[in-house]
Symmetry: C2
Amino acid sequence: MTPQELRADIAAGRMTGPTAGLLDGHQQANLAIVPRELAFEFLLFCTRNSRYCPVIAVTEPGDPILRFGATEADLRSTLPRYRVWRAGELVEEPTDITEYWRADSVGFLLGCSHTWEGPLRRAGIPIRYAPDTMAPPVYVTTRAAHPAERLSGPLVVSMRALPAEHVARAVEITARYPTGHGAPVHIGAPEALGITDLHAPDFGPSPVIEPGDVPVFWACGVTPQLALPNADAAYAITHYPGHMFVFDHLVDAS
Amino acid sequence: MTPQELRADIAAGRMTGPTAGLLDGHQQANLAIVPRELAFEFLLFCTRNSRYCPVIAVTEPGDPILRFGATEADLRSTLPRYRVWRAGELVEEPTDITEYWRADSVGFLLGCSHTWEGPLRRAGIPIRYAPDTMAPPVYVTTRAAHPAERLSGPLVVSMRALPAEHVARAVEITARYPTGHGAPVHIGAPEALGITDLHAPDFGPSPVIEPGDVPVFWACGVTPQLALPNADAAYAITHYPGHMFVFDHLVDAS
């Protein structure tokens, strides 16, 4: 299956499940759509927290068609599921947002960490997710993101527990993927981030941790999603967790 | 001399010359100040052309004080010279812009290539500038920058002529400095960029080119300066060429 075929299946309603784990090697991205009047603040928040919100592409205001390299896609229907927010409240989780798109909508595609799961696996580094999940546990830290006018919130991290002998290599590999949040932001010592119980994540499944494992934390794209409701904007639309946009292009290490 | 002392001398009017070549190892930056209503477009232009406009810091709208890491400085007086634009026309080149700062002014500090001249020199790679200059020749190419709404213009490059055996090492070294425009964007073949005569640059001094040299082109921070007048904004303020802002922090290779 190609990214174009996957997006066609999604747009036709034949595929509504998560994209996590599909089309290994293709760039996947989180989505945020905000009104033009919030666009500077959102882009500034991403710039000031670029490890957490790596900007891959931004659409022209009002135009729902994303054009980026070889990729051309209608953002209103080519993600499997969305979240629609109004004045900071989650109001719906539809599979198509055509009726919610406005003349002032600006779409932001932000890189996500699925980018480097393939390269880690190929390097022999085990990524152990909970059975039947393709997602890491996610924790809200006690550290604040750098605010940008109305946008503020906590820094959020994802965690993978790795055998101690693989930690340095995992740093080297993930550092090559700035559109996948890059190198870890924190290794070991979860309490320094305000995380008291690794088995009680704020989002996602409980982790699989084996004796000798070290918890390794990466910047997480949930960070802008927690800041957006605080802006109290007229509306915002995000992807539903795990249900990302898939680009035509393969991820190349930098 | 420390960066704080240098900025104090500049603010007191005791120093009005170029910062190029001063305080080797400290991050220097280009400046652009635009009205808040143009800020999204300018930041988007920088994001879409990040090799040419690497954003280091953005001020809070209306606040002339830059706070970034240990650096705290009044942007109205701590660069040696500025350029003030109105509706796309250059109107003045003052040494202080206190009278031009407005309640809607947003300042952008953009990385510049002086960042890696020290590391290249220390690696034994000769950077040959014209006598009595500390600046490279700069060329306007026939390639267009990725536009962002009202902002559009040509891509601009700087050039250093290097002995062929040093070219690959220069790529490796400069690639480590994303806030210095990173790796070259083009090596050899100036005609492919629309440059017909290397000895007739659009800005800066004529180059020193010796037999066996290869022209190596880096993304240049003049790119946003040529796009800004096209936006026809009420005003814009930029640094005067070679007269940059000097941060407290040293540049670290990534």
